[in-house]
């Protein structure tokens, strides 16, 4: 070795470089806050990007939805046919479809961000689109949201057990059943459930959201009725959803099983159930948390058929009707709502993740 450096003892630690600003150093000292801020910034970017894409995608479609709609209505209901230009011009203005597309975009964004206004709906003109959406949203969230959460929880638990008891007969059954059933369409299961429970056994109602003899309100009767009527549709979603989560959880579980800390937990003589929940599961369910956030998007467009089958007053049917009539304000509104909910859910979950998983790094 050639001594290019100063003699051994003389090596000194150089003084820390002074932080560039108080703000930066504050952030450096509060990595959680810095992480949250950065994550929030990203959230805004994604939100803006997705909303913008959604807007332009629909607005740049060839054709004129207003004109089409008006003519269709005129034709279907045998109205006096007329030049229609006046009607069309009038509604085009009302729907914010006149003028330059960028001006439209700015106006749309302004209304959306400042007033939460999506413009009037076509399918239920002149009710604002946000009202149309908000009216069906609670049912959708109630039915699909709750079922999605339940499916997730069941799926994780069963999937974890299936992975854990790899090789055991019960696990094989669960796994193979999931493999087979996780892609059976929801509505098919729903149909069979209706057939069996509503008609053959007559145990549960086959359609609607509650008993129409009860007036909606915070009464026990009403809530009971909502639960009773929601049971079948929810069951069909939970059933199939669970199988999907079982598969993916099992798949995450298997590598965890090879980890030393599981062998060690076994050596510690812990009860298998405890090893499963506190050791194996806790190390593999985290990716599922994010996946769940993303899957929420399906609530907005994934279960139209189930809603239709049960005649449920949810968002899916609203969306389909809106699509059939090219009600852009409502379609974009539902789209925006989906984007907003999913992104927000993922944001919250990401912010929550460091609390659930101590290993999460706050930097990239």
């Amino acid at each position: 070795m050639t001594a290019t450096a100063p003699p051994a003892e003389a090596v000194q630690t150089p003084a820390e470089t002074a932080p560039r600003s108080a703000w930066r150093s504050w952030l450096a000292r509060h990595p959680l806050a810095a992480y949250a801020l950065r994550r929030f910034g990203l959230y805004l970017v994604e939100l803006w990007g997705a909303l913008t894409i959604a807007f332009f995608f629909f607005r740049l479609m060839p054709g004129d939805p207003i004109q089409t709609l008006i003519q269709t209505l005129q034709q279907n209901y045998v109205y006096n046919q007329q030049a229609s230009t006046e009607i069309i011009a009038r509604y085009r203005a009302e729907f914010g479809l006149d003028g330059n597309i960028f001006a439209q975009y700015l106006k749309y964004m302004e209304n959306l961000v400042l007033h939460g206004d999506l413009g009037p709906s076509l399918i239920s003109y002149p009710t604002p689109a946000q009202d149309v959406i908000l009216r069906s949203l609670p049912w959708t969230i109630g039915l699909l949201g709750v079922s999605a959460v339940l499916a997730w929880i069941f799926g994780i638990i069963i999937g974890a057990i299936a992975g854990w008891r790899r090789g055991k007969i019960g696990s094989a059954i669960a796994t193979n059943l999931s493999i087979a059933l996780s892609h059976v369409p929801f509505f098919f299961v729903a149909l069979i459930l209706v057939y069996v429970f509503a008609y053959s056994l007559g145990m549960l109602p086959a359609r609607s959201a509650y008993d129409s003899r009860i007036s909606p309100g915070l009464s026990l009767d009403f809530i009971g009725s909502v639960l009773k009527y929601g049971l079948l549709p929810a069951l069909s979603i939970v059933l199939i959803g669970t199988f999907g989560w079982i598969l993916s959880t099992r798949m995450l579980m298997v590598p965890v099983l090879g980890e030393d800390y599981l062998v060690y937990a076994e050596a510690k003589g812990l009860k298998p159930w405890r090893i499963l929940t506190r050791y194996a599961l806790r190390n593999c369910y985290l990716p599922q948390v994010t996946a769940f956030g993303i899957s929420l998007g399906f609530i907005f467009n994934g279960n139209v058929l189930v809603e239709q089958l049960f005649n449920y007053p949810g968002l899916g049917t609203t969306l389909v009707t809106a699509i059939q009539q090219l009600d852009f304000n409502t379609i974009i509104g539902v789209t925006d709502m989906a984007i907003f909910s999913v992104l927000t859910a993922v944001l919250l979950l990401d912010l929550l993740l460091p609390l659930l998983d101590p290993r999460v790094k706050y930097w990239k």
Binding site: E46, H183, F187, T335, V342
Partner: protein
Amino acid sequence: MRVLNAVLRTVRNSKRLATGLVILAVMVLVAIFSPLIVSSIGGDTDPLEMAAYEKWLVPSPDHVLGTDQFGRDVLAMVVSAMSVSLQIGAIAGVISTVVGVIVAFVAGYKGGWVDGVLSTFTGVLLVIPTFPLLIALSAYAKNVSLFQVGVMISIFSWPFAAKTIRSQVLSLRSRPYVDLARVSKSRDLEIIGTELLPNLLPFIGVGFASSALGAIFGLVGLEVIGLGPGGVIDLGQIIFNAINTGALTLGAWPMFVVPIVLLTLLFAALNMINIGLEEVYNPRLRGVAGE
């Protein structure tokens, strides 16, 4: 080559993988020979033609699975539908997996701003609901081929693959064996291909299986809105048809049971292949009594 060898090796050792491959192979064979099978079912008439036979016939020796509401032979429909469904599944599955994998690898391996941009883009695409967008697309599209439909479906399904794989790449890229490959003069692409890819096969496999299955069901959605490839029948469409015509209460079980069983078999086959690959991926699991 190595990968292939590894696969062949596991095929020998894993019953599951072998079963999966056999099921898949049989389905592919049926699909390939579907025109022959269909014409042998029909004899002189084209069994897929509207009103070829009486409608809603119950299964009989002449029509093993009966006929549908337009008097088409359900068996012939199922056979030719399977070919279409397999094609669309393969096209969309391959495209979205390949795109997803490429994006995931570029983002995960390169890191930095490339990762930032790609991940944000993926994230945005991931949350935009697809159904309304596809409707909008239907207004642009004229005559769409099966391949184009596959591309359309892939546009919306690759982000899922990309997202799961990227996080795996992130965890793998700092593995010491990647470093070892780097000092052994392996180029980035080679490292991705030979060091990372094999370890991600199960993830890629699962991604492929779900994109493929998603595409098979997604095709029905497209057909309903006029974006389907004209004049073809696929399995999803038969199920959709069965549901819309109330085949369950009519007792026309072949219309939904057969396609659902076929799709389930397909999915099961893909999954068995995956689990087999999982054993390749994780040799530690080999020898552990498989399920």
